[in-house]
Amino acid sequence: MTPLLEVAALAKHYPVKQGLLGRTQGLVRAVDGVSFAIARGETLALVGESGCGKSTTARLVLRLIEPTAGTIRFDGVEVAGAAELRALRRRVQVVFQDPYASLNPRLRVGETIAEPMEVHGIGDAASRTARVQELLGLVGLAPFHAQRYPHEFSGGQRQRIGIARALSVQPELVVCDEPVSALDVSIQAQVVNLLKDLQARFGLSYLFIAHDLAVVRHMADRVAVMYLGQIVETAPKRTLFAAPRHPYTRALLSAIPHPDPGRRGRVAHLGGDVPSPMNPPSGCRFHTRCPHAQDVCREQPPPLREIAPGHASACHFAEDLPPFDAAEGQGIAPLAARRLALYAAAKLRRSGAAARG
């Protein structure tokens, strides 16, 4: 089956201009040859630190910016001209990171949610109003919220509004650009659960951008890890978490704080910052921070190569890395686990038969 979205060798380079004549001094390779595909109903997570190019990739997929090179095929058709772009604009929607900046403060929530339908000429005023009511219910808000302004809502509720807006034109792919990064942990969980419910209900595909692998664990079917504009590892979710085969993926996993004080201080964390994408390190771009780096890593860039079906890593030593256990020392105490189970059961009972396990 054709994937819903297919991205091949996508690149975005920004020239750096300096001086009076605005001469190009160099290139920032924000995205530098990225390929991936998303099937219908699938979630691909794109994960990496700030500056790795994951948000630029999202913007390229949305065609909010023009790629320097590479192709984007949506539902088998290459998005090149204005006609394809117009269709893409309806079929691909976005939920942004900052629920404060991404809603117009002067529009009532109902107007915000109806706006994409107006832009695409869907329905009349009455049907749009009805649809807004329906959407508010879908994302767990009340019909009267349509008359309110964004400032009257909490961060989590605003993110729900953003999701309702994205769904208003019945998209097939939703690009979620760090949709929960700005939220409290407890609210993150609500929004993640909502996104999963909506996916099951409407068969949505997600391109889910995150800097935190833990959140991804509960969202993604497949994960692609990005570093300095390139994908360094991609695998089905379970494989990636059980047996990561790139040192950077392992570093991201080790950095996640665990609810276990016994683990404290036992994990070595990645040092340093992401190098400048204007002047990326020679050879493997990760070698400056990699605990396993050898001479070959400084000299030869490792290609992203398949090491098992569906699992690719861009590391010279992917097969030779020592064993790794992401959840090491993370056992939640038995009594705490028992109480969490009771909490889950009590919650399920309260929410009635409507709730799903």
């Binding site: 630190e49 909490s154 989590g156 509720q157 409290d184 942990v185 407890s186 609210i187 993150q188 969980a189 609500q190 993640v192 659960n193 999963k196 800097h211 935190d212 692998l213 833990a214 664990r217 509960h218 379970r238 978490f241 570093a251 991201l252 996993l253 080790s254 950095a255 996640i256 704080p257 665990h258 609810p259 276990d260 004080p261 683990r263 404290r264 201080g265 994990v267 964390h269 990645l270 040092g271 910052d273 992401v274 959840a327 993370q330 939640i332 105490a333 009594l335 705490a336 028992r338 109480r339 969490l340 009771l342 909490y343 889950a344 009590a346 919650k347 009972r349 309260r350 929410s351 396990g357």
Partner: protein, 333 residues
């Protein structure tokens, strides 16, 4: 803790805001203690009053808020009774604070080094400019900033988010405070940088023996840092215990909800155990236990009487009549 008196002791603290609907309490009768050289983690969702609590300790509550009652004892001295000039002396030299967003706390038009020397100058009028520069470079070195001599003249926008937070920490620690209040210090950062900053804070604490109050919404971060934990909800402490104890035997349903919300790597759950709803605003608090509308264990009694913070195990306090929940659950119809 031993028999040593705590560095900071908060007793019956109430911070109120006068509004059109009357006086509302953002912090509503909080008792806490921070042992010397240790870390107290204060955890709760946005709006639970944890930031207002820390601002109360600094006496920086923004108007129309004010501290209505209580005591804030630092090394035995009640900060709430100090004259404004005395309090200014305490801030920075004895108690320092770092915030979530280092970009808004740094002045964008001054080099970072100058901002550190300014903070030093406020507490040391006699040092020469040369001396202050050396000390500021030393402060940058202590927070593991590479090539601090060169970074001294950098502007905030030239630094990464992690580097900016390091500069903030350098500035906060410039005068060797006994207590550092860190209000969501890593919330805006990447997980990798968060891990670095938490490592750094732990190392600096071991070096200087300072106490830390760490404010966060993430129990995972608390587990990485805290010795003692206080869980806050709607202006009140609902659970207090040693960190090891609270993760081994969480008592309050709100603590369970926060714990269940953390995405975990060791478990392949499809759904996260979220807490439904949101923290009620201080002007619309529910009757009885303030958590009862969101609590899956709530019974009729919970809607009437506010539960007291009581000892459920030695050194472990919880404000819930249903705790421990395994005993309560048989009673559910």
């Amino acid at each position: 803790m031993g028999d040593e008196s705590p560095l900071l002791k908060i007793e019956g603290l109430r911070t109120v805001f006068r509004t059109s609907v009357g006086e509302i309490a953002a912090v509503d009768g909080v008792d806490l203690a921070v042992p010397r050289g240790r870390t107290l983690g204060i955890v709760g969702e946005s709006g639970c009053g944890k930031s207002m609590l820390s601002l109360s300790v600094m006496r920086l509550v923004p108007p129309p808020g004010r501290i209505a009652s209580g005591r804030v004892l630092l090394e035995g001295r009640d900060l709430l009774t100090l004259a404004p000039a005395e309090m200014r002396d305490v801030r920075g030299s004895r108690v320092a604070m770092i915030f979530q967003e280092p970009m808004t706390s740094l002045n964008p038009v001054h080099p970072v080094g100058r901002q550190i020397t300014e903070a030093m100058r406020a507490h040391d009028k006699r040092a020469s400019a040369r001396e202050l520069r050396d000390r500021a470079i030393e402060a940058l070195r202590r927070v593991r900033i590479p090539a601090p001599e060169r970074r001294f003249d950098d502007y905030p926008h030239q630094l990464s988010g992690g580097m900016r937070q390091r500069v903030m920490i350098a500035m906060a620690l410039a005068c060797r405070p006994a207590l550092l209040i860190a209000d969501e210090p890593t919330t805006a950062l990447d997980v990798t940088v968060q891990a670095q900053i938490l490592d750094l804070l732990r190392e600096l604490q071991a070096e200087t023996g300072m106490s830390i109050v760490l404010i966060t919404h993430d129990l995972g971060v608390v587990a990485e840092m805290a010795d003692e934990v206080a869980v806050m909800y709607a202006g009140k402490v609902v659970e207090r215990a040693a960190a090891v104890e609270i993760f081994a035997s969480p008592q309050h349903p709100y603590t369970l909800g926060l714990l269940g919300s953390i995405p975990r790597l060791d478990e392949d759950r499809e759904r996260l155990l979220a807490i439904e709803g949101a923290v009620p605003p201080p002007f619309a608090l529910p009757k009885g236990c303030r958590f009862h509308p969101r609590c899956p264990f709530a019974i009729e009694t919970c809607t009437r009487a506010q539960p007291m913070l009581e000892e459920v195990a030695p050194g472990h306090l919880a404000a819930c009549i249903r705790a421990p929940v395994e005993q309560a659950v048989e009673l559910v119809a």
